[in-house]
Amino acid sequence: MKKKRVANFVKTIVCLFMSLIVLAPFYMVVINSFKTKNEAARMSLGLPTEWMFNNYIEVIDKGNLVQGFFNSLCYAGISTVLGVVLCSMAAFVLSRKETKLNNFLYYFFLCGLFFPVNYVTLVRVFQWMNLTNTRLGIVLVFTSSMMPFCVFTIYSFVQSVPVQMDEAAVIDGAGPISLFFKVIMPLMKPTLVTCFILEFMGVWSDFLTPLYLSSKSKLFPMTMAVYQFFGKNKNYWNYIFADIVLTCIPVIIVYLLGQKYIIGGITSGAVKE
């Protein structure tokens, strides 16, 4: 019994230490975002001598954050909803109608898990399709780049939904569209929510896609806006930190609300073996 208590004590110390290492940068960012320029440049962990709440107002204005926020929301929101709905349709049919072609198409989707996106030629494709510097283009790129993961995750979930459900619905007179949207989709809710949350956070964090595909700052998501702001104001760490806090808050909220689904989602594959 005593041995166990010692072990538990050691475990707690290790966990506390690791949590400290993770949380220290967060603390540093938040506390320094309330300081004056000179004080923040020292990056100490002490409390600010004077709380500069104004930093936030200042940075929202200077850093183009309102625009950035709505761009991020637009990219992450629309592309994720579109991606998850389209992928669940594809995964449903691919899993239920196992023809040779569909099996091939499943792996065709899957190979995107490994392939890199070629942004240089994507710029070319955008020119051909008149999508250069449009939100629609960026949304479609995000949608297509989440497809491999979503099809993969939803496909394995569909297999656990009994085919009898389909049969019962069809006997009750449901057509393919009402079968899918009224019967199957509600059953897939846990996976769909997981995919939605993971991909939403992924798009929100993405940097590479807008870096290549948007040359107008009007189209920049928050990540790009922060980076641009950093480039212009390298010495104003108080503003940079305030900017960072504002960019992180949305993802952290989504994370805390959807934690249950995230852990369940990323681990379902691991447990299934």
Binding site: M18, M43, L113, P176
Partner: protein, 292 residues
């Protein structure tokens, strides 16, 4: 039941078109363009086939693109080793049940949801030589001699990058390991204990074999992430000091910015071939497991 009717093929075709158009087609187009002199001047001079010139340039020029390819592999291997092994032992440790386990998991997972740009910027400030948190902390605990120019010293810059990457990724890897561990029936351990197994025996003969699935998932995600790494290096060092930390993707972006599109797509195509080989290998492995 008429399968054609209740599982309409257009459910697949619409996503397929978007996916092919904006994901796979550009990749294949990149292979085509990698054999041309496509550049920002093409509009004036026209597009010409140059055969393997771009590839020859990559492997023989004095610009060190080869080291970018080497660094990509180095990052992939080392970043996975420094995340997977500690994360595995932390998971084993957390598994036994501990007060506040859920809270620790929430905290340790937190960094992996943040944008890389943000993490890069934060660590740029932490690594600052004079005022950064890391050097200050080292001095405060009497380890001032360990102070480093974390991002500009050739000897430690990779360590810094791996450190930041581990800071971000360990919680994620650990969460997947924990799920794998929790799916192992407790009886297996009890049976092993009756047979007189100690901690290491149990790890070797019960835990590891039962964890194949989660190790595999972590490896797949880790390797594909490592090969495609861009954000963290771009923000932390931008390939510097000199070209010491360039990887394939940072070189490709640089060439793109310089208007050397053909060269950029050639580098991208090399990455495509590397990931395709590894991908085919993994998909084969997975489909074999499914049929078993």
């Amino acid at each position: 039941m008429n399968k054609k009717k209740i599982y309409p093929q257009w459910f697949v075709i619409i996503p397929l078109i978007i996916y092919a158009m904006f994901f796979l087609f550009p990749s294949l187009l990149g292979v085509f363009y990698s054999f041309t002199d496509w550049s920002s001047r093409t509009a004036l001079n026209g597009l010409h086939f140059v055969g393997l010139d771009n590839y020859i340039e990559i492997f023989t020029s004095n610009k060190n693109y080869g080291s970018g390819i080497f660094n990509t592999f180095r990052f992939t291997i080392i970043s996975n080793v420094v995340k997977l092994i500690p994360a595995f032992f932390i998971a084993v440790m957390l598994k036994g049940g501990l007060k506040g386990k859920g809270a620790y998991r929430t905290i340790l997972y937190l960094p992996s949801i943040l944008p890389f740009v943000i993490i890069g910027l934060v660590f740029k400030s932490i690594f600052n030589y004079n005022t950064g948190l890391l050097n200050t902390a080292l001095e405060a605990i009497g380890l001032g001699f360990l102070k480093q120019k974390w991002l500009s010293d050739l000897g430690v810059v990779w360590t810094s990058i791996f450190g930041v990457d581990a800071w971000r990724g360990i919680g994620y890897v650990m969460t997947i390991f924990l799920a794998g561990l929790n799916s192992i029936p407790q009886d297996y351990y009890e049976a092993a204990e009756i047979d007189g197994a100690n901690f290491w025996h149990k790890l070797r003969y019960v835990t590891l074999p039962m964890m194949k699935g989660s190790i595999m998932i972590n490896l797949v995600f880790g390797v594909t992430y490592g090969l495609k790494v861009f954000d963290i290096i771009y923000v932390l060092t931008n390939g510097g000091p000199g070209h010491a930390t360039e990887v394939i993707t940072t070189y490709a972006f640089q060439l793109y910015s310089n208007g050397q599109y053909g060269m950029s797509t050639a580098l991208n195509s090399i990455l495509l071939v590397i990931t395709a080989i590894i991908g085919i290998f993994i998909v084969k492995f997975m489909s074999r497991k499914e049929t078993e």
